[in-house]
């Protein structure tokens, strides 16, 4: 049983990660390498990636920390509303963020027309702005959850000793967050640097490494150059990975108290700050909603279904169905598989458990755009190439690590004596899992399922190589419409994805409400 399981895992990881990655590296020849890095595009792409990436990372981290702190530590009104709004950008593809910016600030943008602005959003400024929209919510939720877990007792002591709030923040909160800030910094930088959705749409002449790779490998099918750039894109993710490992999490104190927020301590500035952020987040989405029903946005605002119908005529419904199928398969298989590995790595002992853990967090280091290229090269002549299955497979592997870590985190909180009791009472392991473990981790399972689903629904990185010939997911229509300058249709698709993801989120929220936690 144990042996079969380990063999299955070895086969899945070999085929799903190592073989494709190996094929990618095998494509790199010394000549190809020299040619790529000597090209003038390459050095400017490296510079563009690092400069825009750093600026966007610093700004999104600062905004995210400020927003999370305001929501967690001040008696702000409508907290839940803000949390929901801040989460919305995580439900649409990264490329949609730059579409939103173009719709607002582009040559024909809504705000551009109203205020007669004439600055140029295309280029570094657009990349930075779009990347912030894309990365802000991720950083925000990391900071939120870490702030929620902070032990309140030092603050009580500080309060009694009369330490001012600002010193409490500097001397208690910041040191507590140091580790999170460092690891989130690298994770967000790597996320921004390896994303091509934002810069492809809004970068204009500013080409980043990921766009360069997209142009070479996806558009021109130059896999050799693509592999070289792909190898470079792995670097930031590996740094993020190492930063996380070398910077171990502090143990949660068992006696931790929740931090109680002083009712008097509410700040108008904090509320206005969160309201402005919400406006910035909602504006592009509202613009999309207007745009898709306007005859010719923004000049002729008369109502029409023309754009929606045209998008459907171009196959949006079929592609949406493809995406649904892929998302459900990825989420179902991914959730079961990541649960199995998390269970094994936390609830068994020894060498195998440690290897499984390392394997499970390894996919974090491979950007989708590099993994997808590896898949094309490796699977090109195999029968699953060109099917929905390969799209689901690449999604499961690509998004594997986060749900795995969610489950691991939950399982680590369950006493290992549960299994020992099972052994002593003669309860077979599968019943312990079915009747005791699974009910306890149910909410985490929902969360994992939603994570796989939402990401499979909106990803355009790894899948962009594989479809066609595989059936096309709807998110890829956005890049297609981008190339055709059909901005309204791209908006229709973005809204369709948003609504689908929203529906799933609402479904799980209702499920959670209906069956309250038993712990």
């Amino acid at each position: 049983m144990r042996k079969t399981f380990l063999i299955c895992v070895a086969v899945i990881f070999s085929a799903g990660i190592f073989a494709p990655l190996g094929s990618l590296f095998l494509r790199i020849t010394p000549e190809g390498f020299v040619q790529v890095i000597n090209s003038p595009q390459f050095s400017s792409a490296v510079w563009n990636t690092i400069s825009t990436g750093l600026i966007a990372t610093i700004i999104s981290l600062t905004l995210a920390l400020a927003a999370a702190w305001t929501l967690e530590r001040t008696a702000i009104k409508h907290k839940n509303f803000f949390v929901i709004i801040f989460g919305v950008p995580m439900l649409i593809p990264s490329i949609s963020h730059s579409f939103g910016l173009v719709a607002l600030f582009g040559a024909n943008g809504w705000l551009t027309n109203i205020f007669q602005w004439n600055f140029n959003i295309y280029g570094a400024a657009g990349i930075i702005a779009g990347s912030i929209m894309y990365a802000f919510p991720v950083a925000f939720f990391i900071f939120m959850s870490v702030l929620q877990c902070e032990d309140g007792s030092p603050y009580l002591a500080a309060e009694v000793l009369g330490v001012p709030k600002i010193r409490q923040f500097l001397d208690l909160t910041l040191p507590y967050l140091k580790r999170t800030i460092i690891s989130t910094f690298f994770a967000i930088f790597s996320m921004i640097a390896t994303d091509y959705g934002v810069p492809l749409m809004i970068g204009g002449k500013t080409i980043t490494l990921s766009v360069l790779m997209y142009n070479k490998a996806v558009a021109m099918m130059d896999y050799n150059s693509g592999s070289v750039i792909g190898a470079f894109l792995i670097i930031p993710a590996v740094i993020a990975f190492l930063a996380d490992i070398l910077n171990p999490a502090q143990k949660q104190n068992d006696f931790a108290k929740n931090i109680s927020v002083d009712d008097k301590y509410s700040s108008r500035a904090g509320f206005i700050f969160c309201l402005s952020l919400s406006a910035l987040i909602v504006a592009p989405i509202l613009t999309f909603c207007v745009m898709i029903f306007a005859a010719k946005y923004p000049a002729d605002m008369s109502f029409t279904l023309y754009h929606v119908m045209r998008t459907i005529h171009r196959g949006a419904l079929d592609n949406w169905l493809n995406s649904l199928i892929i998302a459900f398969i990825s989420a179902g298989v991914g959730t079961i598989f990541s649960f199995a590995l998390a269970y094994f790595s936390t609830r068994t002992e020894g060498f195998a458990a440690r290897i499984i853990h390392l394997l499970s967090i390894f996919p974090m280091t491979i950007p989708g755009i590099a993994l997808g290229l590896g898949y094309v090269i490796f699977f090109h002549d195999l029968p699953i190439y060109g099917t929905l299955i390969i799209l689901a497979a690449v999604n499961v592997m690509h998004f594997f690590s986060s749900p795995y870590l969610m489950m691991r985190n939950t399982l680590e909180k369950i006493s290992s004596n549960v299994e020992a009791v099972g052994k002593v009472l003669g309860i077979p392991r599968r019943f312990i899992i079915r009747d005791i473990i699974l009910p306890k981790v149910r909410f985490t399972l929902y969360e994992m399922f939603a994570y796989f689903f939402v990401n499979a629904m909106m990803t355009i990185s790894a899948v962009s190589y594989l479809a066609p010939p595989a059936p096309k997911p709807i998110a890829l229509m956005i890049t297609q419409f981008e190339a055709q300058r059909l901005i309204e249709s791209a908006a229709v698709v973005s809204i369709a994805i948003l609504l689908t993801n929203l529906a799933l989120k609402i479904f799980f929220t209702m499920l959670n409400r209906k069956t309250p936690a038993s712990q």
Binding site: V418, A420, V421, K423, G426, D435, P439, S518, Q519
Partner: protein
């Protein structure tokens, strides 16, 4: 009167790397006896219990139960129950289900399982708490559920790992009395691990004192008090007891 040998432990040793946690431990427990294992923190008590129940494999040595070698038998087939220090209740199940759940895996039919669970809950005084969830109970009550759960499978030996250390003084006293009662009514042999001298001396028919993985002395409380085997027993066990008695006396007069 013929008192039978229930459990015999011979030359058990266990090391974690270079850390020799148990060194050639030998002892025997009689049928129906209340046997305490007393030792300070880290001396290997939990390790020994886990070896006895089969959750851990010893490096050397043998374990006999009713004369049969059970050294390599699976935990569930040893006819022993265990109560963990943190109880490890199934907290998504009701109190009743906690006790009845495991019976289905021992070819007990549903009706008999229900009867059995009710009987066990009655014994530990939780008849009226069947429908509650573990989180709704006090620490002492949770402990009783864990005891009832272990009793339901009719083990002839029950192991307790520092079962009372998380409870307040008066609850401890209650549960101690109950344990003695259960021992008398069901005749279950009890092996009780603790670092509390007072507890060991109050409850036990026999005490084994463990010092850094080595057995210092085995005997009845009277034997240990009248003839401590070595300095460790004298200082760790008896002096501590004496201090407690002295302070009590001062308090009473």
């Amino acid at each position: 009167m013929d008192i039978q040998l229930k459990l015999e432990v011979k030359e058990i040793s266990k090391a974690y790397g270079n850390n020799e946690v148990l060194r050639r431990v030998n002892f025997a427990v009689l049928d129906g006896e209340f046997f305490s294992i007393l030792g300070s923190s880290g001396c290997g008590k939990t390790t020994l219990l886990q070896i006895l129940i089969g959750l851990l494999v010893a490096d050397a040595g043998k374990i006999f139960k009713d004369g049969a070698d059970i050294t390599t038998l699976e935990p569930a087939r040893r006819g022993m129950g265990i109560v963990f220090q943190n109880y490890a209740l199934f907290d998504n199940m009701t109190v009743f289900k906690n006790v009845s759940y495991a019976l289905q895996f021992h070819s007990v039919d549903n009706e008999a399982a229900i009867k059995k669970a009710a009987q066990m809950l009655d014994i530990v005084g939780l008849k009226n708490f069947s429908a509650k969830m573990p989180a709704e109970l006090s620490g002492g009550q949770q402990q009783r559920v864990a005891i009832a759960r272990a009793l339901a499978l009719e083990p002839d030996i029950i192991l307790f790992d520092e079962p009372l250390s998380a409870l307040d003084a008066s609850t401890r006293l209650d549960i101690r009395r109950e344990l003695k009662n259960i021992q008398r009514t069901l005749g279950t042999t009890m092996i009780y691990v603790t670092h509390d001298q007072e507890e060991a001396f109050a409850l036990s028919d026999k005490i084994m004192i463990l010092n850094r993985g080595v057995v210092s002395q085995i005997g009845s409380p009277e034997e240990i008090i009248s003839a401590p085997a070595n300095d460790y027993v004298k200082t760790f066990v008896l002096d501590n007891l004496q201090t407690k008695i002295d302070s009590l006396r001062r308090f009473l007069t």
